[in-house]
Amino acid sequence: MRPVAFRAVEKSFGAVRALRPTTLDIAGGEFLTLLGPSGSGKTTLLNITAGYLAPDAGRVRIGERDVTELPARKRNIGMVFQNYALFPHLSVFENVAYGLRSRGCTRSEIRRRVEEALATVQLAGFGGRAIRQLSGGQQQRVALARALVIEPDVLLFDEPLGALDRQLRKHVQLEIRRLHQRLGRTTIYVTHDQEEALVMSDRIAVMREGRVEQIGSGRDLYERPANSFVAGFLGESNLIEGSVTRVSGDYAELSVPALGMAIRGIAAAGLAEGEPGAALLRPETIRIGADTAPCLAARASEIVYLGEIVSVRLVLADEREIWCRRLSNLGEVRPGPTTLGWPAEEVRILPIHSNEETREVRHDRSS
């Protein structure tokens, strides 16, 4: 149950800055997910942790040990690869036993621990099978057993569920979570699937363009996103852009000339009057048919019945579209003119994530 610490770790591939200086602490036994689109640097950070990539600068510590200079074989990590990377010429038993043989365990100990690991992933009795005889889900579990059996200080996952179908993926997500709760190993999990991140993680680090945009629990990120990128990446969101006119106490006001109104909501950190901002209206925040202020005229143009909820596409006065969701048992929504509203305490006013240059300029100005 070792903690993992990154201190100003960075990595470039030629002119591409895959990972900007990143400092991050992962507590012992924590399940941290690195979430981000492709090219956000999440896999780079994972490979640096494993020892498959050497950082250009910065230090990596696992427990009390500085492992920056150590090759992967001396780090005691358990990695589950995207394609599982099982040895095709070895049996299930030998795949799982591989790390133990490298560690010079005795024959009887290997037998005992491999069987224990296979039982943990519900593959008891599969030891004699060849890898190609297994289904994708079973291969995934062999890969997990192979990583677990060596009792690693850190368990690393590189998008391990991508190849599984949706139904199986949900099942394995819950299985991995239960396993983590039972064994309590420090875990770093890389994915671009927000649902996967929400199901399993203690904390999620949302990454973009080689840096961590925000780190926190799933609820933190969903309810209190730091900027419009995080808000857009995690969950569905309606972002209405405007300029920040007033910040006072917990609240801020955003003027939206296109709609001819000001939207009031809880202010995110780093908001400055006069700068561009965005109001985040989550689909479940919007009330259709509201008659108390703030209230906006809209037209319901598309209604999608999804069982327990109804998804409604609303067109505003400036032809902007927003999506709203509500429980089906709150009554039927009909297409046509309606009004919509929202409670100000459920709206958040966020700084706009900007592309790199403008951010750097702004950073310089503030420092």
Binding site: G51, A72, S102
Partner: protein, 281 residues
């Protein structure tokens, strides 16, 4: 849909027909004639075979042929494996250049290359001169007209045949398997021994079979570089046909060699899945 499917076997047969006819006419038919010849000895149908199997000289020729083939195969694999490995690490222009170097010998006739070796290896040739100049030898080494010369010349010819199948096999090994092995605590040597080597084995097997079979019937190089005591089966057949004019004996020797070749191929196919290296993984 039904129509095209029922027509497919016919199309396949038509596409294969020219090659099949060609082989039938120019390969199967002469082979049949040769088989007939091998039983046409005036002393009796099996007399030619009996002479080959019991004759001391003939047995020594077969043994020498096998020895040369085994040694050349071994050297070719040992030299070809590192080359194939290096090729898997190269990309783009460097890979093209390296491949060109490996394949270049194919563009030069075996005869030309063998004569070149004769010039290089002769008593006062550049190899001996260089060895003496370096002070490694005091007198010229006998490098020509013995098995050493045959090994050198034949390995030179065979090397590309060894490199290509091994490369085809090694390049398909998923690099992540090596990372996985490393991550599980295995030393580089263990990773090589337990992952890289076994996964590349089908290619090594295919290379060995290819080089060995080509070596068994090799003629020009052993004939020009070998000595009087280093006769191979191919040279023996040539001798029987051109000098002694005993066609029955020559035909029987050819069929014995073919029999040995097929038997060895059969055994090799049991030991390593050769076809696998050249088809899908």
């Amino acid at each position: 849909m039904k129509d095209t499917r029922s027509r497919r076997p016919l199309a396949t047969a038509l596409l294969l027909l020219p090659a099949a006819l060609f082989l039938l006419l120019w390969f199967a038919a002469p082979l049949g004639e040769l088989l007939r010849l091998s039983f046409s000895d005036p002393r009796g149908a099996l007399a030619a075979y009996r002479e080959l199997v019991t004759g001391d000289v003939y047995r020594r020729v077969f043994a020498n042929t096998l020895l040369v083939s085994v040694v050349v195969t071994g050297i070719s694999i040992l030299l070809g494996y590192p080359i194939a490995h290096v090729l898997t690490r190269l990309h783009g222009a460097r890979l093209h250049f390296a491949f060109w170097c490996v394949l270049f010998p194919f563009w030069v006739s075996v005869l030309v290359r063998t004569f070149s070796w004769m010039l290089l290896l002769e008593r006062n040739g550049p190899v001996n001169a260089a060895l003496e100049a370096l002070g490694l030898t005091s007198a010229p080494l006998p490098l020509l007209f013995n098995n050493t010369a045959v090994y050198i010349g034949m390995t030179h010819v065979m090397l590309p045949y060894a490199v290509l199948p091994i490369y085809a096999s090694l390049v398909r090994i998923d690099r992540r398997l090596l990372l996985a092995s490393d991550g599980l605590g295995a030393s580089p040597w263990t990773t090589f021994r337990r992952v890289y080597l076994p996964l590349g084995m089908p290619g090594v097997g295919a290379a060995a079979a290819l080089v060995f079979l080509l070596s068994l019937g090799f003629f020009i190089t052993p004939a020009l570089l070998g000595g009087i005591s280093n006769i191979t089966v191919a040279m023996l057949i040539e001798h029987l046909v051109n000098e002694r004019l005993v066609w029955s004996l020559a035909a029987a020797a050819a069929f014995l060699l073919l029999g040995v070749t097929l038997a060895l191929l059969f055994v090799a196919a049991r030991l390593v899945p050769i076809g696998q290296a050249l088809s899908e993984r």
